[in-house]
């Protein structure tokens, strides 16, 4: 049953008009790419090329070190100049393969179309996803082939494609739905076949009526033989979070600490579905993705197809550079993205947005005492008590933080957004989560 939404959440200003009408354009070819060897949740990769090697576009350069991992590919053709640690969007420097672009974009010979979807077995689809290096492109970067391989005791009946794009400012998924609707449906069918799911749902917030229409059309044309539905969802943040999306489209609630497969569902992002379709149809591995470059601090906002490893500073230059009062660089959306200390950092598989904020967004107000208004509890989509978790963490009472649900927080940021006392609740909860997780490991 479709409920269209969930309990809690917020209605921030969406700021999407800046880029919603801008078609996806290719970014200008980078002079060099810096490709980190860790771009997914799970194990990192080992480089399989050496300094001085000539590589071609789409050639594998990183081999996974474990099952929960995904290979990494060259996004340009050219010469490997260095292999060294480099700035990484998630914080600490990570080993990276640096390739000087020869500008030829010579494709790797191994890239070849696969059999059509009708002839592929579930095992073959998983293998294609794995060999193409697919990860969740919404930002979480969980390896796709792992999601498509649930344990034998779990049966998956529904695949949900996440077209909610609830993060303010970002329009990458919106554009993908408008421009690549057929491939999304193709990818969805592949996911369904890989998991043995009987139902496919595409969930889209109702502030994107053109995307809903485009997806409905694509489903009508390409969905023959499959049970596919397009769901129009309430526009509310965080509608596109895994658990809230499942609740809104199927009415099912994923239990605390569990994965969507606990309620027989697998979620995939629109971009991932397109990448899946390209991997099957063209044999193309994941070495580029759509990124929204936006915010009041960028001169010319755009939706660009960005090569893996392209440096953010080059992308910003290409978009006309910073405006005078730009003060903050965020990779991802404004609610969950990471602020960067430098723009000398590469775009990776999980980079959905380059958001540049100005002075008015970074004014720091003093932290006031909690006035127990309870607004954070009202907005928490996980029905936690962010005020109490935050205060407990601030007092370093991590047992209490755990009692109030710290580990069930997925850091959507609704509480901090809402708090009239300017309390950095998510920050405190993150600290508590790190501390509790470290203690559990002991």
């Amino acid at each position: 049953m479709s409920e269209r939404t969930f309990v809690g959440g917020i209605h921030p200003s969406y700021y999407k008009n800046q880029t919603a009408g801008m078609p996806i354009a290719p970014a200008s070819p980078p002079s060099q790419v810096v490709i980190p060897m860790h771009q997914n949740i799970g194990a990192p990769c080992d480089p399989v090329v050496e300094v001085g090697d000539e590589v071609k576009m789409g050639q594998k350069i990183g081999e996974p070190k474990g099952f929960v991992s995904a290979p990494i590919f060259a996004s340009v053709s050219g010469k490997v100049t260095k292999i060294q640690p480099y700035n990484h969007p998630l914080g600490n420097p990570v080993q990276a393969v640096i390739i000087e672009n020869d500008g030829q974009d010579t494709p790797y010979e191994g890239i070849a179309p696969n059999k059509p979807l009708e002839e592929l077995t579930p095992e073959e689809i998983r293998e294609i996803a794995k060999e193409a290096g697919l990860v969740g492109l919404g930002g979480a970067t969980f390896p796709t082939h792992v999601k498509l391989a649930p344990p034998p005791e779990v049966s998956i009946d529904t695949i949900i494609i996440n077209g909610a794009e609830c993060e303010p400012f970002l329009t990458a998924d919106h554009r993908i739905m408008l421009e690549r609707a057929d491939d999304i449906v193709y990818g969805l069918k592949a996911f369904m076949k890989a998991c043995g799911a009987t139902k496919g749902i595409i969930g889209i917030e109702d502030n994107k009526p053109d995307a809903i229409e485009a997806m409905q059309k694509a489903v009508a044309e390409g969905g023959e033989g499959y049970d596919l539905e397009v769901h129009s969802l309430h526009t509310k943040y965080p509608q596109g979070a895994e658990k809230t999306l499942i609740k809104a489209t199927t009415g099912r609630e994923v239990p605390p600490g569990a994965l969507p497969m606990a309620v027989n569902v697998v979620n995939q992002n629109t971009g991932t579905a397109v990448a899946m379709a390209e991997a099957i149809k063209l044999g193309k591995p994941l070495y580029e993705r759509v990124v929204t470059i936006t915010g009041p601090g960028i001169t010319n906002p755009a939706n660009l197809m960005v090569r893996n490893g392209a440096l953010i500073k080059e992308i910003i230059e290409q978009c006309g550079g910073y405006t005078g009062d730009a003060r903050k660089l965020v990779l991802g959306g404004p609610m969950m993205g990471m602020a960067q200390p430098t723009d000398d950092v590469p775009a990776i598989k999980g980079t959905s947005g380059v958001l540049i904020l100005t002075e008015e967004f970074v004014q720091e107000a003093p932290i006031d005492p909690c006035i127990k208004c309870g607004k954070c509890i009202d907005v928490c989509p996980m029905h936690l008590m962010p005020n109490f978790i935050g205060s407990a963490s601030e007092m370093e009472n991590m047992d209490l933080a755990e009692k109030y649900g710290a580990m069930d927080c997925f850091e959507c940021g609704c509480c901090t957004y809402t708090c009239p006392a300017n309390r950095p609740l998510v920050q405190w909860i993150k600290i508590a989560k790190g501390d509790i997780a470290a203690r559990r490991k002991k």
């Binding site: 609630e253 239990p255 500073k313 003060r327 200390p341 430098t342 607004k375 029905h383």
Partner: protein, 309 residues
Amino acid sequence: MDRKLVVSSSPHLKSPEDIQSIMVDVMVALFPAALMGVFLFGYQALITIVLAMVAAMATEAIIMRKGFFGDGSAALTGMLLALVLPPAPPWWITVIGSVVAIAIGKHLFGGIGNNIFNPALVGRAVLVVSWGAHIAGDVWLQPQPFGFTADLVTQASPLATYDASLLDLFIGTVPGCIGETSALALIIGGLWLLYRGHIEWRIPGVFIAIVFIMGLFDGGFEMGLYHVLAGGALLGAIFMATDMVTSPVTPMGRIIFGFGCGFITMIIRMFGGYPEGVMFAILFMNSVTPLIDNLTVPKKFGEVKQSDA
């Protein structure tokens, strides 16, 4: 690159609402009731309101040394206190009430966010037990619309006599505290707070429902309405019991809190020594608020109740 980038934890957006904007919103919500008080009881009511607010802000300014208006919470406390005082108490009663509310009711407990009891009600409670003759008893003025210079005609409270008409109680043309007599003005303010999201229905809704239901047993439908409209039930339910700092934060906790407030109010009204019980009811429930919050931690998303499992 020489541009300095700011790094902070997500989220990078913030709602425009802060403590000051909430306090201002609540004062806006109280404005109809205050205006009605001045309209009915004349310039003395206006003096009482202004005096209480100024005394409260001055007390806070001396303690906090952060400007006169600050976050606006002291002004609100002073306004709330004035609205639960008779229209024309001696000036020193008003000042002592405000000083006690801010200094003892609020800052002795650690200031905003940390006080256990509603500061305005602490101020009033101290006045009631210390100078009862000036606060309760025969201190009520006969309302005289537009009677800005009316003579004082003292009257008994409608909760002592039980003889006012329901229409008078609804409009507010009955003797009483400055802000409590007009149900109409209070409901308008309450709707504004609901619309702005600063209160939610549970505390005032349950509070008033319990007052009405117990009023039914005190004398049928009309008496149920009488209990809701007369005295401080509406002011207490909409503005005092919903004080963020001193009321529960959980949905179930708010229902329990509203129930307790309504129940104790009616027990005092029907069986107690005071004609009115709203103040002591709310103060008592304030004292158990942390306990209620601890016992009513909401079910997490996806969590199955023990009994269902």
